[in-house]
Symmetry: C2
Subunit: 581 residues, 2 copies
């Protein structure tokens, strides 16, 4: 592509509303433009990268036997009513009425539509398994769209849906997709890790997220240094020590109130009573789908509200407001405790609290705590469960090894849905014995536009993007520095032709711009390979070649260019851990 | 693709709600499924055809120097308010409020978004011209979606937008797109004709439609048998005879009322008064943007309401209802006339009415007409203009030659927009003299999904679709008839491999189905080439090859198959007027 005829509106300055590096660089490199909050125009360069990601994903889906379809963006409400998600999905589901007053939504995901499609068509086990996917624009009305393409409202997603006749088939489909994802992300050249994840609003039996590792990621991942274990923090189980200490509540002195005037926080209580936080039971009051619940964790731990929500079996979870706290505890915030709490509030306790006793806790009374609390003796616990956030000092929940925390960006998510949708929507088939059964489903998403952003988050420097060659808008940029020198222009044209003939995706900077401008823009956009042709090099029969990622420069001979270039190109790809497609 | 692993849910019966052949066949061939009124799922086969159309269109757009972008589906209302189309566009514009109560619409077209995009970026004449296009899903909330993919609500469109510094540049861009469209439709293999068209809600200076010729088309085209002229009926000018007869109104007797009890229609009046319809002035009362107007055409002619709307300069046009007719004429429907009509109603008269005088017309009085009406003498005509629908007996408006009417399906539309959007949205640039000017725009649409349907409308028979090889879901279908014969299965596998190696898009029917089922489905889906391998053929070293379009069968040798197949394939493409890409 001749850049003199191409539309790349670069910016000199970071846009004011861009917080993360990928957002800044995508804007500055002329790849995207904001239309309105969370909604972006993809400009020619940006679309090229997106299309390259899509092509790799498509190939890996096809290879895995999935078939491409295209489902509508506008979906009728009645399907969402069937699954209950018309109410459940909340405000992220953008709802719209057509001219006849009928209800629709813009698809944030397509479980309902795809299940409706197959339930009319697939009648026999002989037609299963089927795996259908699409690459399509989704809309989720995020309350706070942010970070450019990282968390937009309108975005491009690959979503696939598998239908199987039984659990075994569904697991097979799940792991086939898992492997297809691994292959796709590897081919894109991202450093990533699949981790155990919560199923959220999609629901289902279990799921994994594919995380691109980047310090700027919104998610925290717990990974084991000894085994393969990895999990999103919101999902990671906590392992209790194997040897449970003997806990004898009968030895605990009777519960006793102590005045703690103006002492609210864990730190304040510990300091006031001169105890360590692990002697304290922290009591949190929350509301799950409108009903209050209490959660207990040790004073030095953090409640994992996703775990709590899943155990309670609800949808929306939020902290109780001050008024409710006052109503349930007869005290201001800071004095809640499990003993003497409103008896209508079920109490969920973290399992770790079974490892000790003789606790300090709030007294449900202003400016008062209790000493010598014994949980079983003094309160009614609804259930003990794994409720807290894992910490970096915890052992690996699978092998007991050491874990570490890293940051990640979710770019893929695979779900084993099971019967959640097929039962509600009556997507059934006749099995080998003529018996009607619901299909066992899985669903599988990849954030296509988000991948481009996450590739930049992972690969950038002070001068701009450093794209992997697999998804760079152009693999190579040929920079002609001849100015008005016709010899240079002619040679550059010739080289451009040669590169094109090799089937390599090249941008040819034939613009009448100063060398400094051309260099800076090539670095900003982040073409993996730069070729610089100037008068002096031309006289000496060489062209300067720069690896954008490492900054390493070498000289390629003009005589025998094709061969030397091809070898260098192979090296660049290999340095990225990639093979030329 | 092995059909044993492919998802093609064919139907034996025509679906009840399908009126046109493309809708029936797209459903029956398992290419699409209806989600809800005017909204379709594209199944694997259907999507393949759509993608082939898109690829050809993309290539021709790129060749013409246009650059691909992708603009959002959800657009903020404020841009539409700027151009006035938030009010003007009517109910086809699907409006939606987000969670914060802000107004948006689903894009039925993207003039506002693209103009907003470039006005922030293009500042100098040096950056012009620019032509940006996208292939994207559009939504238009049609009042009566129908005919499957022909007039859906959600559909796939290629839309391009050009920006030039002056009129000459804009015309050049227009004709470059015109030629790119001609090239694309030719490569798709459609019989089509570009015709002059009305600009409708998009507006602008002038436009052409590209019509696929098919008896089932919704549009009528007037074409000249002598010259290149072609026009949509709603646009086609009417040529007046060159020699204007002398019309002397002073010789017309005074206007005189005549009782015509219960005589309403043109036919009834003519029969009652024993005159021919060309002696009558037909007076039609309409409402343009809420204001009543009257239109006069000769009794034997038909009013073209698009022409009237354009001359009045309005947006929505509809017939006056009975109450309004009664109010304006003091009579029931059937007795309106230009003389004595409510004086607030402007009267527009077809130019043909200047060619004669001494008319019969309604008297604006129940059961009464007038004789000896002289238009200039007896009424106040706001304006004479070309107001009627062209007839097949009219001469060609350009060369005077003979015209004929054919039916067509609009698959492309090019518009010279001029300054309509750039002035309203202040999309300006600095010209060579540093003067700020609005950009001169054009816009260009292709109905990508509609093309697949129109290809079927043009090419089908009682057994199914006859796809052109350029956009068939698969170019060739290899039908293996071996049953349990391992020799046939092995040879079929080998042939399938050979065809794939030739880079030809093949469906391989390896299913355990009866030969009749396989033949019928291959015909239904309309693969252009069928190869049938059976036990007997195999024994004789031949494979049967069928041209789906002509039904012609030949035998290809298994020995030297690649060469014979390649030659036959070339012939098939050539018979379609196509060259292999």
């Amino acid at each position: 592509m001749r850049l003199s005829r191409y539309y790349i509106p670069t910016l000199k300055e970071d846009p004011a509303d861009a917080d993360v590096v990928s957002h800044k660089l995508l804007m500055r490199a002329g790849m995207i433009r904001k239309l309105t909050s969370g909604i972006y125009n993809y400009l020619p360069l940006g679309l090229r990268s997106i299309n390259k990601v899509a092509a790799i994903v498509r190939e890996e889906m096809d290879r895995a036997g999935a078939m491409e379809v295209l489902l509508p963006m506008v979906q009728p409400a009645d399907l969402w009513v069937e699954t209950g998600r018309w109410d459940y999905y909340g405000k992220e589901l953008l709802r719209v009425k057509d001219r006849h007053g009928r209800d629709y939504c813009l698809g944030p995901t397509h479980e309902e539509v795809i299940t409706d499609l197959v339930r009319g068509e697939i009648k026999s086990y002989k037609q299963l398994p089927v795996n259908l996917y699409q690459i399509q624009t989704k809309f989720r009305d995020e309350i706070r769209p942010r970070f450019g393409l990282m968390r937009g409202r309108e975005f491009i997603m690959k979503d696939a849906y598998s239908f199987d006749k039984d659990e075994d088939g569904a697991e097979k489909s799940y792991w086939e997709m898992f492997e297809a994802y691994r292959a796709a992300f590897s081919r894109i050249g991202l450093r990533f890790k699949p981790v155990q994840a919560d199923s959220g609003a999609i629901g289902g039996d279990f799921s994994h997220e594919f995380m691109v590792l980047a310090d700027t990621g919104e998610d925290t991942i717990a990974s084991c240094l000894s085994c393969e274990f990895g999990a999103n923090l919101e999902k990671a189980r906590v392992k209790l020590p194997e040897a449970k200490p003997e806990v004898d509540e009968s030895a605990v002195p009777a519960m006793e109130e102590v005045a703690t005037p103006g002492v609210h926080t864990v730190e304040e209580v510990c300091s006031f009573l001169d105890i360590t936080a692990d002697k304290l039971v922290k009591t949190l009051l929350l509301v799950v789908d409108g009903e209050p619940v209490a959660a207990l964790v040790r004073g030095d731990r953090e409640l994992n509200d996703i775990k709590l929500r899943n155990i309670v079996g609800g949808n929306e979870i939020e902290m109780a407001d001050e008024a409710l706290v006052r109503e349930l505890t007869n005290a201001p915030v800071g004095f809640a405790g499990p003993a003497g709490l409103d008896t209508n509030v079920p109490i969920y306790a973290d399992r770790e609290l079974t490892m000790s006793t003789d606790w300090v806790a709030g007294a449900n009374k202003s400016d008062t705590h209790v000493l010598h609390l014994a949980l079983e003796r003094d309160c009614t616990i609804e259930r003990y469960a794994d409720l807290r956030v894992i910490e970096e000092t915890d052992p690996c929940p699978e092998c007991g090894g050491k874990i570490e925390f890293t940051r990640g960006i979710e770019v893929g998510h695979v779900f084993k849905l099971g019967l959640k949708y097929s039962e509600k929507m009556e997507a059934t088939f006749l099995d080998e014995n003529g018996k009607s059964k619901p299909m066992v489903m899985g669903c599988y998403g990849i954030g296509v536009s988000r991948i481009v952003a996450s590739a930049i988050e992972q690969n950038n420097d002070e001068n701009g993007c450093c794209f992997p060659p697999s998804i760079a808008p152009f693999e190579v940029c040929l920079i002609s520095l001849g100015g008005k020198d016709q010899d240079v222009a002619d040679k550059a044209e010739e080289l451009y032709g040669e590169i094109m003939k090799l089937g390599v995706d090249a941008a040819y900077d034939d613009r009448k711009e100063r060398p400094g401008v051309k260099f800076a823009e090539a670095d900003l956009i982040g073409y993996p390979m730069q070729l610089v042709l100037g008068g002096k090099g031309l006289k000496n029969g060489i062209i300067e070649a720069k690896d954008r990622k490492t900054g390493e420069k070498i000289e390629l001979p003009l005589d025998g260019f094709a061969e030397a270039f091809t070898a260098w190109r192979k090296e660049i790809w290999n340095n990225w851990g990639l093979e030329i497609a």
